[in-house]
Symmetry: C2
Subunit: 325 residues, 2 copies
């Protein structure tokens, strides 16, 4: 891009409303300079979103600006970390000012909501894609990991599962549900996932492991089991499903979305028996449901899905082979 | 990409030879967990490289792996920071194992040279591009900034200027210089720039400002002048030029490359008169030349290029309007 174009783009992103105290130098030098408060561990994650792969070509830039940050925030939530700083590397096919305005407005609205600061980035010309680098902090020794689950721990998920996949299916197939409110609710679950930052923070002292559900419960719980060297039993009838999902789709389709649809960005976490009471105190007032869906088992017991106490039908058992990517 | 393809790619990058003490958790969870040593400030920079824009389509993957990291290291060098951690978001059109092997071997060779650790990343399918997030540390209050230059300070550059642009021109126009050693030397300056990490560290206590020369001396010194609210005088006859460049190209072409060719990844820095003696002690033994090319002036004096004490010909004066990007 020409020099002037870069300056134009920079104007949309170089808007610091209030600088965080831990940011010594934000945008405008070769590096940003940051000071980590004492007794805090830094949590860093990076995610790339490519047009046509991670988001539909006709997505509204405001939805894209929100979702790009939200899915990165979800990684911080899964560690129990407090959001702090963001870097944004944006590749654009052209300079479209109305696109930039809507995208950046939406991004900054979410940044400001979490008191985050954009500390750097890069703009290049090319097919639309972006890589976000998110930085958060968590008290030393308190980060939630995938590797801490132990046999006997209870498996929980926040919110409801499968709505995002349903919303994506509606968008992809240009289908509409008669009731506009129901339709919009599912679309919104896909386009505007709510990162479970508060839940992650509340779980620091209580959960033995955590992960965010980006690829679907089977796949992501599978990562926890692998890292923790454990097995698990999940009770399908316990999976939290929204009323709109249950009322408008076939049961088998609903279960498929809930198990492996992905992009719910809910947390899946494990809690030792001794912490179950404290869990209700910690999460009860946060306004988001959380549901026990199974239990961690010894590794030798494997990973099984139960339906009313019996092994689930083969069509569900096989889902770990169809895990979507 | 299919799940298996991602696992394949991950194998090339998930090779921790020795974990840094400050890395609590590297690759393998939702976030990496890092501990910043006391009294250190974190320096973060991010850069995207897109095929056809930042590197030629026929670049060897080993050269690409080196250069992608080297240009990011150069940003740390310009702050006087010690390299520490890297994130790599890689977008690939296909899984090509020999490409991945050569790219990752070269990347890890340079990572290991600087005792850095790859702490996370992401792989997606799409047109070849990559975004690196580099993290370094610098003692509190010692970072080199663009904004510290003061009238009277002397302007220096490391190494020689213009070689990288000459190497790029040879590659782009498929030209060869008769002497293979000379040809290879210029190509190497373009493909394998040496980040001036040691020089940056040595300058922490001595330089009033610093920047790395990625876009060309005029453009990058211009950033320093803007951030420092100063003017400057640069003496063209003082510009450090390699013998190979002087001997094989027209003088005017050489000056053009030296002033605005870009991608030299040398440091441009300013030093107060009182520190000039200490500078020779600090940089003298590092094996890389450094040259005084001018002096910082009050802002009102503007930015002028002199040739043997007289204003340079109009063709050079105008170069700040042609700054390449």
């Amino acid at each position: 891009m020409a020099c002037g174009e870069f300056e134009l783009i920079a104007r949309y992103f170089n808007r610091v409303t209030s600088s965080r105290r831990d940011v010594e130098k934000g945008i405008g030098d070769d590096c940003a300079l940051l000071n980590l408060p004492e007794k805090q561990t830094l949590a860093i994650s990076t995610d790339t979103l490519v047009e046509g792969v991670h988001f539909l070509r006709d997505i509204h830039p405001a939805d894209l600006g929100y979702k790009a940050l939200a899915v990165n925030l979800s990684d911080l939530a899964a560690m129990g970390a407090d959001p702090a700083w963001l870097t944004l590397a944006l590749t654009l096919p052209e300079v479209d000012e109305s696109w930039l305005q809507a995208f950046s407005d939406s991004l900054f609205e979410l940044l400001n909501y979490y008191n985050m600061q954009l500390i750097g980035g890069d703009t290049t010309r090319g097919p639309l894609s972006m890589t976000l680098g998110i930085h958060g902090m968590v008290p030393v020794g308190k980060a939630l990991r995938r590797s801490g689950a132990r046999p006997g721990d209870w498996i929980y998920v926040t919110g409801t599962l499968g709505d995002s996949a349903a919303g994506l299916a509606l968008l992809q197939h240009h289908q509409r549900i008669a009731d506009p409110a129901v339709h919009e609710a599912l679309i919104k679950r896909h386009l505007r996932p709510m990162p479970r930052i508060l839940q992650g923070q509340a779980l620091r002292a209580l959960a033995s492991s955590a992960i965010d559900i980006s690829d679907g419960l089977i796949s992501d719980l599978g990562h926890v089991l692998q890292a923790s060297r454990c097995g698990a039993r999940v009770n399908l009838e316990a999976l939290p499903l929204s009323a709109v999902l249950r009322d408008h789709f076939e049961h088998e389709q609903v279960m498929r979305w809930a198990l492996s649809g992905g992009e719910d960005y809910e947390l899946c976490f494990t809690v030792p028996e001794v912490n179950r009471g404290a869990l209700d105190v910690a999460l009860g007032h946060l306004g988001v449901p959380y549901t026990c869906v199974g239990q961690i088992l010894p590794e030798a017991d494997g990973f099984t899905l139960l339906e009313n106490g019996k092994p689930a039908s083969a069509s569900f058992q096989g889902y770990d082979h169809f895990v979507k990517k």
